[in-house]
Symmetry: C2
Subunit: 360 residues, 2 copies
Amino acid sequence: MPKPVLKKIVEEADGVYQSILKRRKPRMHMPVRALANVRYSPKVGYFELIGKRKERTLTVGTVKTFAQSLKMMALSKDLIQGDDIASKREAYYISKNWGDARFDEQEESDTVMDDIEAMFEVNREQLGFIPEEHGGEVAGRLTVIDRDDKGKPLAIDCTRFGSGAYSIPISVEHLKFESHAKFIIAIETAGMFQRLVKHNYWKDANCILISMGGVPTRACRRFIRRLADKMRIPVYAFVDGDPYGYFNIYRTLKAGSGNAAHLNQFFCVPIASFLGVTPQDVIDYKLPTHPLKDVDIKRAKDALRNDPFVKHHTEWQAAINQMLKMGVRVEQQAFAKHGLDFVVKDYLPAKLKNPKKFLP
Amino acid sequence: MPKPVLKKIVEEADGVYQSILKRRKPRMHMPVRALANVRYSPKVGYFELIGKRKERTLTVGTVKTFAQSLKMMALSKDLIQGDDIASKREAYYISKNWGDARFDEQEESDTVMDDIEAMFEVNREQLGFIPEEHGGEVAGRLTVIDRDDKGKPLAIDCTRFGSGAYSIPISVEHLKFESHAKFIIAIETAGMFQRLVKHNYWKDANCILISMGGVPTRACRRFIRRLADKMRIPVYAFVDGDPYGYFNIYRTLKAGSGNAAHLNQFFCVPIASFLGVTPQDVIDYKLPTHPLKDVDIKRAKDALRNDPFVKHHTEWQAAINQMLKMGVRVEQQAFAKHGLDFVVKDYLPAKLKNPKKFLP
C-alpha cells in the first residue's frame, strides 16, 4: 500500500498549518514542469528532472489555486485511506461541492492534479487518481495477483483465457505477479496480438504477450514496467516498421516523453529493446511495403535532428537513414504474405535466437 | 461451428464451375449495399435489406474482380476448415501471392470481402475474417466458455478478475455462455465501468457489466447480442447524456447503422433499452452539466428529422426536445458530485426499480 505518499501529504499539509499558526505566509514547492527542466542520461534511460522548482505562496492572487491544491491533497488522502480511486473527470465533479474552490473547467483541476503529482514526485495513480482510458491486453505465462472484494489475494491465470485476454485495469499499483516466463513481447496492434494468441505462441516460446493497441496508455506502460521490474525479464517491442511505431510507440514505451518528465521514472521501460519490424527485415523477408508518407519523412528527420534518444543511439540513426533511403514503411501484418503462421513459425523464432542484435 | 457457410461457399463455387463446363458465362449475385435498399421495421428492430440484388458476370471488364471474389471465397473456405482467422489487413497481404488477382490497395480487398459477406448473408467473422480492432471489457456474473488449444472447453469466470476484466476477443462466434445474471449493463466509458467494478456492483445487483469504450466495436456488439440471445436477459445502456451517446452509441448498439444494413441482423441488440443518463435525470439528480455544442444541436435536430428510429419513438422525440430546451449535456461521471459511490448506492438502484420506464 502507498503509505509513504500518505505521510508526505500529511507532512506537507502540516507545514502549511504550522506556518499559519505562526502567522507566516504558507508556501508549497513543486518542480517546474517543462522541457527546460529535463535532462537525458542514457544510463538512467529516461528523461529526468534537473531540479528547478517553483513556489506557490498564499497571497490574495493565489488564494483560489492554493485552496484547490489543499482540497485536492485532502481528496487524495481520503482516496488512499478509503482504498478508493477517482478518475480525473470524477475529481473535477467532486470539486463542484467545494464552494468557491470549485473548478470551472476540468483543465484547471487537471493542472492542479499534475502539480500535486509533481510536488510529491509520484505518479497520480499512487495518489488515487486514475486516467479515463485504459487499454492493454495480456495473454500468456503470467499470473496476476489482484485482490477480491474482501481484500484477499485473487490469482488471475493469463494462460486460461482461450481467444480472449486479461484486460489491464486503469490502476495497476496494487497488482502483484507470478511468472516463469522468459520474456515479454509488447505488440502494437490488436490484430497481431490475436494472431499470436490464436497460435498459442506464448506456450512454446514461454513468454507473456501484451497488446498495447497503438501508443500504450499510462496504465499499460506502468503495468509493463512493474512486471519487468518484478520478474526481471526482458521486454521486446514488436511494432509496425514506420516512424510512428519507432518513436510514438517504442520510444515512448522505453524512454518516455518530454512534456511529462516527472513521470518518466514510473512509466518508462528502459530495459525494452526493439524486436521489429526493422527496415532490414523488409529486405531479409521480402515484405510488401507502402511508400513513406510526407508525415513519416518529416517525423523521421525530426527524430534524427532533435530526439535525444535517437542522438544517443547510432544504431537507430542507421536504421532511420536506411528507411529513408528505401522510402518505404512496413506493417506487422505484412508477414501474412508468406502464410498466416509465418510470423509464429519463422520470423519470431529466427529473431529471438539473437536478442542482443535488437535495436536499442 | 459455422459449417452452413462452408456449404454455401462450395455451392456457389460449384455453380460457377458448372456454368463454365456448360460454356455459359458464370454469374454471382449479391444484395445492393446502400440506404436505398433498406427498410426500418420497429417490430424487427433493425434496418433490413429489402432485396435489391446486383449481379457480377464474368466478362473481360470484370475478370479481375471475379477472380478476386473466387480467391477470397477460397481463402474463407481454408480459414473455416483450418479453424483459423485472418484480419482484413492480413487477407489483403495474403493476396500478394495471388499473381494478377492480387489487390493493390486494402480498400479493394475490403470491398470484395463486404460483397462476399453480403452474398452469403453472414457477418464476415463467420467467414473467418476478423476486424483489426476489438474492445469491450466484461466483469460480473458470467462464465464464458472458450476453447483451449486442444479444442477442449475452457471456462472463464468473469467474477474472478479483481480490478481487471475479461477482454472480448476479436471473433466471438465460437463462445458459449453460462450465467444466472438478471441483466446486462452496457457502459460507455472505461471510467464508469471501473467505478462499478471497484464497488463490485455486479455482485449485489447480480448482473454483467460490459464496457463499450465509446462506440462499440463489431466484436463488442456481437458479443452482447449473442449473450443476450442465449441468456434471454435484458440489456440496459448507460451512456453520457448527449446526442453522441444517444445516437452514435446507443442507437448503433440497438438498431444498427444505415451503411452496413446487411449486418444489422447479427450486430444489433434490439432488446436493449436506455437506462440513462436522460435529460430528466439532470433535473431529478441536480447534475452538473455542460452547454450543448453546435455539433450536439445539429446532431439532435438531424435525428429528429431523419433518423427512422427516432421517428418511430415519441419518447425519444420528447427526450431530445427536452435536452434542446435545457440546452445542456451531461456526463456519466457527473454523479460524482454527490460522492463517488452515489451512482452505485443511489442512482442505479433507484433506476432499476422500474426498467419499464426506460427510454426504448
